[in-house]
């Protein structure tokens, strides 16, 4: 009796690893591996929207997404070029600007200030609000007639005419970028702040004793330690922005015209609205590849810690 209890205990103990890891692996296989496999699979098929029949088409979906259908005048599909450009502008501007802003705020927050906790709380909040709510909130801010920005600008006399921000391609992109910066800067702040706090305090002292100026201290002490955080901040930020649809969807739906159509909204539209699931999947695969490529590039630039030899 007692021995059987003992041996049961021992048996359970032996099974600790499979029992704790197994369910998660199965779960992940079901929820990540399987869909990913399906994505790759369906990128090779065409589904007839009328008959719902599927047909293996090889790489045709990729060709349709990437290349000029006629193949006569231009090599690349005009939409692909246009939306890639939009995506580049959107991701490029918002990542760059939010990174610089976030770095500044992180440096300020890293100072020995009383009430730092409160500032940090206040700074974080935009990131943890639902994107839909943030997107709509900014749509409301930019609204042509009753929006707060037009209100502020005209009621203070800075502007004589109200601007229909979201009706103009360039301004709409700008509005999107601003909203994106608003939402994601806190993330940069948190990550960079963690990096800043990793810098051993004594190195600053050492540099000061060594006679280093502020700028020299930043490059010689702060930056090497910040690099891993920069890597994380940029990687996550960029791959997040490439995939992020929420803000675009609620603020502009890719409009006006297609001036804010980015890869994510294009993918959504292609597969959900036009039911071209094969091409949507192909686009998904392309995004996947680009994401991994970007991560690889960022790693080569910012990879490694200051302690690496």
């Amino acid at each position: 009796m007692e021995t059987s209890e003992k041996s049961l205990r021992r048996a359970l103990d032996r099974l600790f690893v499979p029992l704790t890891v197994g369910p998660t692996l199965i779960w992940i296989a079901a929820i990540i591996v399987y869909p990913t496999a399906r994505l790759l699979w369906s990128s090779l098929f065409w589904e007839n929207p009328l008959t719902r029949e599927t047909e293996f088409v090889g790489l045709r979906n990729f060709k349709r997404i990437l290349l000029d259908p006629g193949g006569t005048l231009e090599v690349f599909n005009a939409s692909f070029i246009a939306f890639t450009k939009n995506t580049l502008i959107y991701v490029g501007c918002s990542v760059t600007l939010s990174f610089l802003l976030g770095l500044g705020i992180a440096i300020l927050l890293n100072k020995d200030l009383k009430g730092r906790g409160w500032f940090r709380t206040a700074v974080i909040v935009p990131w943890i609000l639902p994107y839909v709510m943030s997107g709509l909130m900014w749509r409301w801010m930019f609204e042509a007639k009753n929006g707060a920005i037009n209100g502020l600008l005209t009621q203070t006399g800075l502007l004589s005419e109200k601007i229909a921000f979201l009706s103009d391609g360039t301004l709409a992109m700008m509005a999107l970028i601003i909203a994106d910066i608003w939402v994601f800067t806190p993330f940069i702040v948190i990550i960079l702040l963690a990096g800043l706090q990793n810098v051993p305090e004594q190195l600053y002292d050492a540099a000061e004793v060594d006679g280093a100026s502020r700028w020299s201290r930043f490059w010689n002490v702060t930056y090497p330690f910040l690099k891993p955080s920069i890597l994380v901040a940029l990687t996550i930020r960029i791959i997040f922005d490439i995939r992020a649809l929420d803000l675009v969807w609620v603020m502009t739906q890719g409009g006006p015209g297609k001036s804010t159509e980015v890869w994510a909204s294009w993918l959504y539209r292609t597969s959900m609205e036009f039911q071209r699931t094969g091409e949507g999947a192909a686009l998904g695969v392309i995004m996947l590849a680009v994401t991994f490529a970007i991560v690889a590039i960022l790693y080569t630039i910012f990879g490694g810690t200051p302690y690496d030899s």
Partner: protein, 306 residues
């Protein structure tokens, strides 16, 4: 010091702005830092303020000009309306169920798996861990089609009738996709920081591996679990795109969808939208105010480590 014991000086003292104990340039820097931070906070909170006051305005005031930055006649009518005229109760309940179930699953699995990854050197654990990290990089939007297909095809297992679209189950399954790898990662990094000698002490004290895990490691890991749970909850609570694709009725629609429903083809009901938005934003704001520490630590554990 006592000669200038005015309230202003004492306040400056509290903020570390007293030039007596610090270098003048440091004091100047601090002053500038306070100024800039304050400005930044005001700027980024202004939209939240604006949508908040919009939620307290009548529709008339919202649409009237000039724009008011303090509501003339603040009212909670919008909040009452959305709960009375629209199924906001159902949306809220959906959001709560989906977010908390997802959190529960992710925390349970993430904790167990994270612990084992942190402590054991089993066959292929490095590769498995790496693939979990890689899984976090898959753009969810790319998987929207497969998810949609899977959820809308008849279930493989179980005797449930119909497919999973428009059920909370579909959302929960989907959200674990975002959150589970993240949870495993946070918890693994957290456990890496819990001295292994604690588990060993527990074993020496007569605990089997399971008992040591449950009785000693888990209680010690509470802050890590809290961080994981809060982030998983927030992510699930806020998610929009998958909910948009996978839900279609109040049987499963969550608050973000509910808020987007105020956007009609040619008209947006801003005052009610604002009220709905504030409800949807509530957990975020509350968590931000009270659990900022956990959010930051979870994020840094989950993102920065290695």
């Amino acid at each position: 010091m006592s000669t200038k014991d005015s309230p202003v000086n004492r306040f400056a003292d509290r903020l570390g702005l007293n030039a007596d104990d610090a270098w003048p340039s440091v004091v100047r820097e601090r002053l500038v830092a306070y100024g800039l931070l304050l400005l930044y906070v005001i700027v980024i909170w202004f939209p939240i303020y604006y949508i908040f006051i919009t939620s307290l305005k009548t529709q008339g005031e919202v649409l009237s000009l000039p724009i008011t930055f303090v509501p003339h006649d603040p009212t909670v009518q919008n909040y009452v309306d959305i709960f009375r005229n629209r199924p906001f109760e159902a949306y809220t309940i959906n959001s709560l169920i989906v977010a908390s179930t997802t959190t529960l699953i992710c925390v349970t699995l993430g904790t167990m798996t994270g612990y084992t990854f942190s402590r054991y050197n089993f066959l292929g654990n490095k590769a498995l861990l790496l693939s979990i990290v890689a899984a976090r990089m898959i753009p969810p939007i790319a998987l929207i089609v497969p998810f949609f297909q899977i959820m809308s095809s008849p279930p493989l297992i179980g005797g449930l009738t119909g497919n999973l679209t428009d059920t909370r189950v579909a959302l929960i399954l989907t959200y674990t996709f975002f959150n589970l790898p993240f949870a495993v990662w946070i918890m693994k990094n957290y456990f890496d920081g819990v001295p292994e000698s604690l588990d060993e002490q527990a074993q020496v004290d007569g605990c089997s591996t399971w008992e040591a895990f449950v009785k000693v490691v888990l209680p010690v890991a509470k802050p890590g679990i809290a961080a994981t749970a809060i982030l998983a909850f927030i992510f699930s609570w806020n998610e929009f795109i998958f909910a948009l694709v996978l839900t279609r009725s109040e049987a499963s629609q969550t608050l973000p969808i509910a808020v987007s429903l105020f956007v009609a083809d040619d008209f947006i009901d801003w005052s009610h939208l604002a009220a709905g938005g504030m409800i949807a934003a509530l957990p975020g704001i509350l968590f931000g105010l009270f659990f900022q520490r956990y959010i930051v630590s979870g994020l840094t554990q989950g993102a920065v480590k290695e």
